[in-house]
């Protein structure tokens, strides 16, 4: 049973409302999880658990939010910015994310802004199509 992008967005919104205690009108596709919706690290795990349940999919750790493992590798991070290799690795790890803007200034402090509600919708769609 294929779900439309809108249907997925609707369910993702519900997950965010439950996991983060935000209002549903705050959960737009553009909203960033950390900046706009106030998610903290433990919330990311909570979101993964809830998405698995809501969509009956299995989400391998680090697949949806791979940033943490990148940041701890000196080969990928230099001077607070992602290196060429790091950027390539990130692209590889996050095919569900549009990295065009981030590439201009790959400051690791901005990594958090890459995780938007839309990213999750894309990710879930890829997962559902692959199933």
């Amino acid at each position: 049973m294929a779900m439309s992008q809108d249907e997925i967005l609707q369910q993702v919104q519900e997950v965010m409302v439950d996991a983060l205690g935000v209002d549903d009108d705050e959960v737009t596709a553009q909203a960033t999880l950390m900046g706009d919706l106030g998610a903290e690290s433990i919330d990311f795990l909570d979101i993964v658990f809830r998405l698995e349940k809501a969509f009956a999919i299995k989400i391998p750790r680090e697949e949806l939010f791979p940033a943490e493992s990148l940041m701890n590798n000196p080969e990928f991070v230099n001077n607070g910015k992602l290196t060429e290799t790091g950027l390539a690795e990130l692209k590889n790890a996050m095919p569900h994310t549009d990295l065009a803007e981030f590439e201009n200034d790959p400051d690791i402090n901005k990594l958090g802004d890459l995780f938007t509600v839309g990213t999750i919708v894309n990710y879930v769609q890829i997962k559902l199509n692959a199933a």
């Binding site: 690290s41 795990l45 940041m71 701890n72």
Partner: protein, 170 residues
């Protein structure tokens, strides 16, 4: 196994307090039921509130956190340091008063390498008191690279003694 005698160990031991009385049911990795008897001998009830003693709701959450936390810890043979990470939901429907025996019924909703979520209900004589859903972190698996004392300061022997007498169904 290392025998830890350092100061950190002592410090963590002192932090430990037990807020439930015993387990009456324990189904490994799935569900556990504990009870707590509430008594007016608990001093905080004298002030909460004067003339109207009721168990503080935060302490109801603590009791559920202990019940659920032990359930989560036992699922991994007490090898993980399980700490409360998030109160996902806490809704209260009634007061708990001195003389009440509350039943804390906890269920594992999901458990993974680095964390677990639980749902729970508190009842008193079959009346629903609260619904409390929690999330626990296995801290050695999180907080990238931060180191914690090697010994398991969460599940000390005192804590595990609570499980004696529970009807085990492993």
């Amino acid at each position: 196994m290392r025998i830890a005698q350092d100061n950190t160990h002592t410090q963590y031991d002192k932090m430990r307090w037990i807020w439930i009385d015993k387990f009456v049911e324990f189904h490994s990795g799935e569900r556990a039921v504990a009870v707590k008897n509430v008594t007016l001998a608990e001093e905080h009830l004298h002030d909460h509130f004067p003339g109207f003693p009721v168990m503080p709701e935060t302490l109801c959450i603590e009791a559920m956190a202990q019940t659920s936390g032990i359930l989560v810890g036992e699922a991994k043979n007490f090898q993980e340091k399980v700490v409360l990470a998030k109160i996902k939901k806490a809704v209260f429907f009634d007061y708990v008063k001195p003389g009440d025996t509350i039943k804390l019924d906890a269920k594992i909703e999901s458990i993974a390498h680095e964390a677990a979520t639980t749902s729970g209900k508190i009842t008193c004589s079959d009346k629903l008191i609260a619904e409390i859903d929690l999330m626990f972190s296995h801290i050695d698996q999180n907080l990238a690279g931060k180191e914690f004392p090697e010994e398991n300061f969460v599940f000390t022997d005192t804590f595990k003694s609570l499980m004696r007498g529970a009807a085990f169904d492993n």
